[in-house]
Amino acid sequence: MSTTTTQPGGGTPAGSAPASPGKTAATELVSWKAGIGLSLLAILGTVLFGFMSNSKSAGFGIAEAANEAASSVAALVTFVLALLLSVALGYLWFVRRRSGLASGSGAVSGSGTVPGWLPPSTVAAVVVLGLAALGVAKVSKITLPSAAIGWIASVILLGLAGYTVYLTQAKKATPRWVGGTFAAVFLIGFMVWIVAGGNGDEPSISLAGLIAGSVTLAVPLVFGSLSGVLCERVGVVNIAIEGQLLLGAFSAAVVATVTHNVYAGLVAAAVAGALVSLVLAVVSIKYLVNQIIVGVVLNVLISGLTSFLFSTLLTADPDGLNKPGRLPPVDIPFLSDIPVIGPILFHQSLVGYLMYIAVIVVYLGLFHTKWGLRVRAVGEHPQAADTVGINVNRTRFWNVLMGGAIAGIGGSFFTLVSVDAFSKDMSGGRGYIALAALIFGRWNPIGAFLAALLFGFADNLQSVITIIGSPVPSQFMAMLPYALTVFAVAGLVGRSRPPAASGIPYVKG
């Protein structure tokens, strides 16, 4: 997205979150952004969670299982597996870290030889372990006192912020875990505070329901941001995600109704998304028009076109054209019985499972195949890619088409899963949130997936707390994803750098 490779005024190359800790020498300038940002957030947290806390306590319900016996068996098995996995991963981490320290290669943070996937996997395993433990112990509800948790969280937040400031003053980079821990503690403090602020003596929400709803709401966002990842990684800015989602939703509804087959609708959605991409690709790659313009205009065009066709054809004959039926949710045997995790991950529609597959395939494809290497080369330095024999514009063309198809499938979520009829502008700006998720996830499929989950969570939390009543106006909750994205692109939440050639058409010669 960046217009130039050297940003004006962007004179703080050392990001707050060191993506490559090994390179951050002590002499290098360390940015104050992290210290200041964390301090402000910590103060905000202290005021909200500490001073503004009340005497109530917050309840978090854990979902009741449909099948008691199967559920407890599944919980036990998961517990054992998660325990083994966390112990194994933790041991591996410990050993690698110690050998890294001994050899002195990772002088700064000691993570020189720890592979990047290890810490997050360990944390994930421990989280699964904790959830499974709740299932084994048959805990149905956790109740937390608001004031106590609020103050504990505040103290931890202030401590972490202070540590960051201290490190910055000592010209050292802040290790990665500080940011992660800060975010986690902030989230816990926030949740307790906001739930305890609800109406009633002991306000409570269903944690599993909240998270499951978030995943569902995140489905189109994930597909949209994957489309963005595929396009931007190859050097084409895809603002048209919104249009791809919308046309996908429209054609899924119409085709599924006409053929009486929801799966045909799913295929039609992918084709429709690819069609939008085709226009984007032809106009921006062949006719070299500014990609952002094409994207913006395509969104308007698709919005107008689908609204027009909806008002003329679909409302005239809703039974014949706009009654697609739904993709039913499918339970995966055994896995869906695991408490908390099961209903969240393994009780999805076909589109939901396709989402997991798409994330994994795009991630592996981009970072672990020859094809992915070529794609990224084209997005970073098309001239170099061309020199080694990669056909830049053909690579771009097919990637953009593929991205469109993926976003189109995401669009089918609206008409085949969420609501079983098309209505005007039903994507409701989610294409733009997907764009935000892509940037927040730093142009990485996994990152985009997690960011989309976060935005889905914020979206769902907003509707949940509107029901229980809350100290924060719902509009501010709705604002959250957008505000976070502004912070992200401004470099306050670590550094986010787009592919270098993104937005620049390639002309040979």
């Binding site: 997205m1 027009f308 514009n393 502004v486």
Partner: protein, 457 residues
């Protein structure tokens, strides 16, 4: 740029560039992107003149026919034709009358043209009106609807000229309207002073929201497209929130709307109370003149254009690029803020959640159609205002959904952005292709050799 697969050792003969249309495009893009170092400018400098660059001399007639002005006209024509086809295909009456087309062709043609006739009647001149006032009402309506479009379009266009893609007109309109409306209904002042203060407040509101974007862009390098999209949403939610607070909500109303602005804070009606046309339109004319002066006659405008053409060159020439970026976004935001004032102080007279409607997004298409020049934007605003005003009448009279206007608008902009596409459709390419084979990008010998070498390796 399609490219044939076959290694072509045999046809690497021409030392000079092959003279195809696309090769001219290649040169233009190389110029526009500083040889691939940056994204192409929104309105390429090479397409802003009246002529196509590198066009052959040819006859005067041919130059006019292939020039960029002609491309604009053809784009509008093409979009209207496509829109007409879409309406005809979806209209059951057209299918009905097409059954006896050869017996009575008039019936079908009337059906096909009916929406456009209604559009003209609703936007320019209503010849069916009873008296002069009713006949002229449509054109005043067009001017009224155009006012915020022109103002916001100028904001977008000005940012375009400095190389910035301001999608945030929507949020800037909201902020302008928010500030202006607050001054309008809480302060009680004499007529002209009050109106002036409202305008200033709107100006400041928009400037703040636009300036934030410039500041983030200049200081952190955050891309303005993303920031503006996000700030649009933030402004919208902020507006919705404020309209539920006692400071903004109308007393005794449960709806999220503000009190009416004082009479002294409203734009006077230009043609009497039976027309909605207000003095805000004069403000739009003034703003157009101001932007023209800024860009053509002032040092600051020169700096903006230099930054837009090539940031690195501008920096080398001693222009303070961050300052220019912040200032241009602030002024662009201020112009969009005035569009918000035109809404609250002129057309709507109070603040509501839908104050900005879709003006901010329409403004982008307006600026693109106007090729980012002040007067181009002005007339593009009038055209799209006519589409909007006429679309309402068309929907009422022929039940054709107003959404068709969106389709036509976006098609116009899509075609205008790609002049080679339009010329190809109408067969107006300035140079005939000398060789049908061989892609345009395959021209130069060295890359051809390297490529074939890599293919065999």
């Amino acid at each position: 740029m399609s490219e044939s697969n076959t290694p072509r050792q045999e046809n690497e003969v021409e030392p000079e560039r092959p003279e195809t249309l696309n090769d001219d495009v290649v040169l233009d893009v190389a110029l526009d992107t500083a040889d691939g170092a940056m994204a192409p400018s929104v309105i390429p400098a090479t397409s802003q003149g009246g002529q196509i660059p590198h066009a052959p001399g040819g006859s005067v007639f041919r130059q006019i026919v292939t020039g960029n002005a002609m491309v604009s006209v053809l784009s509008v024509f093409l979009a209207i034709v496509l829109g007409g086809i879409l309406m005809a295909v979806t209209n059951p009456k057209v299918a009905e009358t097409a059954g006896y087309f050869f017996a009575q062709p008039g019936d079908m043609l009337t059906e096909v043209f009916r929406p456009y006739v209604a559009l003209v009647q609703g936007s320019i001149f209503n010849w069916a009106g009873a008296d002069a006032a009713a006949q002229l009402y449509p054109i005043t309506e067009t001017l009224t609807v155009s006012t915020p479009l022109i103002l916001a379009g100028l904001g977008v266009a000005l940012a375009f000229r400095a190389g910035l893609f301001n999608i945030g007109a929507q949020g800037q309109i909201i902020f302008g309207a928010l500030f202006g409306a607050y001054v309008g209904f809480t302060w009680h002042l004499p007529f002209l002073v009050h109106l002036l203060l409202v305008i200033v407040a709107g100006f400041i509101g928009g400037a703040v929201w636009g300036g934030v974007v410039g500041l983030l862009k200049a200081r952190t390098g955050a891309h303005e497209v993303i920031v503006t999209i996000m700030l649009n949403y933030i402004a919208n939610f902020l507006l919705l929130f404020l309209l539920t607070t006692p400071a903004f909500q109308r007393k005794g109303s449960t709806n999220p709307i503000s009190p009416f602005l004082d009479q002294s804070a409203l734009f006077p009606e230009l043609l009497g109370p039976q027309f909605r046309l207000h003095a805000g339109f004069l403000l739009a004319v003034l703003a157009t003149v101001f932007v023209w002066w800024l860009l053509k006659r002032s040092t600051l405008g020169f700096e903006f254009r230099a930054v837009g053409a090539n940031q690195s060159a501008a920096r080398t020439a001693g222009i303070n690029v961050p300052r220019a970026v912040i200032l241009v976004m602030a002024i662009a935001g201020a112009l969009a803020g005035l569009a918000g004032i035109a809404q609250v102080s002129g057309t709507e007279k109070y603040l509501s959640g839908g104050v900005a409607a879709s003006i901010g997004f329409d403004a982008i298409t307006v600026a693109l159609l106007g090729r980012s020049t002040p007067w181009g934007t002005f007339f593009a605003g009038l055209l799209f205002g006519a589409f909007r005003a006429g679309g309402v009448a068309m929907q009422a009279e022929t039940q054709t959904p107003i959404d068709i206007v969106l389709v036509i608008q976006s098609l116009i902009v899509l075609f205008i952005a790609a002049p080679p596409l339009v010329r190809a459709i109408f067969g107006l390419n300035p140079r005939k292709k000398k060789k049908a084979t061989g892609g345009p990008g395959s021209g130069t010998i060295p890359s051809g050799k390297i490529e074939s070498g890599a293919a065999t390796a």
